[in-house]
């Protein structure tokens, strides 16, 4: 087994972990935000518009983290900096 092969295999594992754990965390975060927005809307239906705006901003900030993870994962997949050419 060459060291490049080892690095590529480990990179594949890392890609799986990055995308999977990133999606897991962001999913939990999005769920918490959305559930609170639903609760808030049920309690105060007239606040729905402003709550939705705040929700989209919060979700956008949360979603940035898994997107960064996916970006690093894709770097590892398609332009792996560790592999020597």
């Amino acid at each position: 087994m060459t060291s490049n092969g080892f690095i590529l295999g480990m990179s594949a594992v890392a890609v799986g972990l990055l995308i999977g754990l990133g999606a897991l965390g962001a999913g939990i975060g999005d769920g918490l935000v959305s559930s609170r927005v639903v609760e808030g809307t049920a309690r105060q239906p007239e606040a729905r518009a402003s709550l939705l705006g705040i929700m989209f901003i919060a979700v956008g900030i949360i979603e940035a983290l898994p997107i960064i993870a996916v970006g690093i994962a894709l770097f590892l997949l398609f332009a792996n900096p560790l592999v020597t050419k």
Binding site: F56, G60, I61, A64, I68, V70, F78
Partner: protein
């Protein structure tokens, strides 16, 4: 199945002139200039056929964005005398158009280049410090970092963290925007390989509308964070010893 050679490396690679630190990413510069010219043209056209009181079409759309951001600025900064609105609207228009132009075939978003977003973020944070120094004066500006809590040792420790945070801010601001747009465009290419003939349907129905949405949200978040950083930086509270220190 999916190999690196199948995916077009086009979104990853920028054609470069020059070497090292002086290298210029040609496509980024070209697309930035295109975006800027486009915005100026839109501005001139809308200005020419402006009908005050009876907005329609494009004017309506632009007025919606302007009033939304103006509302945000007023809501955040209150009636403090900080003239940040024009520059913030310009940043929003530029970032949003940059995010959208990457979805047009043949163009790439200038924001999918980390240089663009780092430059924008440094500009935004520079703005924050400029307004901060102007609102507090140089001495107050420096003292602010070390006035979080009351105990002296806590002040030093938290102050170091505060200063460190000032260095981290532009990078989080830049990387959030960069990776969102970059991954969006790269996934277009990946979907093309993974789904084959079905990819235009998937891209057209799902991914491109989602990318437009992401572009809007990210531009808005960038601007909103800039405004709230300016707000944090220009708060003048007379809490030299005591009560207001816990306000954060």
């Amino acid at each position: 199945m999916l190999s690196a050679s199948q995916v077009s490396s086009e979104p990853l690679v920028h054609p470069i002139i020059g070497k090292g630190l002086l290298a210029i990413n040609v496509d980024t510069v070209r697309n930035s200039v295109i975006v800027a010219v486009l915005l100026v043209i839109i501005g001139v056209v809308v200005r020419r056929q402006m009908r005050p009181g009876k907005p329609d079409g494009l004017q309506n759309l632009l007025e919606y964005f302007v009033s939304a951001i103006r509302g945000l600025v007023r809501q955040t900064l209150g009636d403090r005398p900080i003239r940040i609105l024009p520059i913030v609207i310009t940043m929003f228009a530029f970032i949003f158009t940059c995010n959208l132009i990457g979805l047009v075939p043949g163009f790439k978003s200038p924001t999918n280049d980390v240089n663009t977003t780092i430059a924008l973020a440094f500009f935004a944070i520079g703005l924050v410090h400029f307004f901060s120094v102007r609102a507090r004066g140089p001495a107050g500006y420096l003292k602010h970092f070390f006035s979080m809590v009351n105990s002296p040792i806590g002040r030093v420790l938290l102050g170091v963290l505060e200063v460190f945070q000032e260095f981290v801010k532009p990078f989080t601001l830049a990387l959030r925007l960069y990776f969102n747009i970059f991954v969006g465009e790269l996934l277009l290419a990946v979907i093309l390989v993974l789904l084959g003939f079905a990819s235009p349907v998937f891209n057209g129905l799902f991914w491109i509308p989602f990318s437009v949405f992401i572009g809007l949200i990210q531009a808005f978040i960038f601007v909103m964070l800039t405004i709230s950083y300016v707000n944090q930086g220009t708060e003048v509270h007379d809490d030299l010893e005591g009560s207001g220190a816990g306000a954060h």
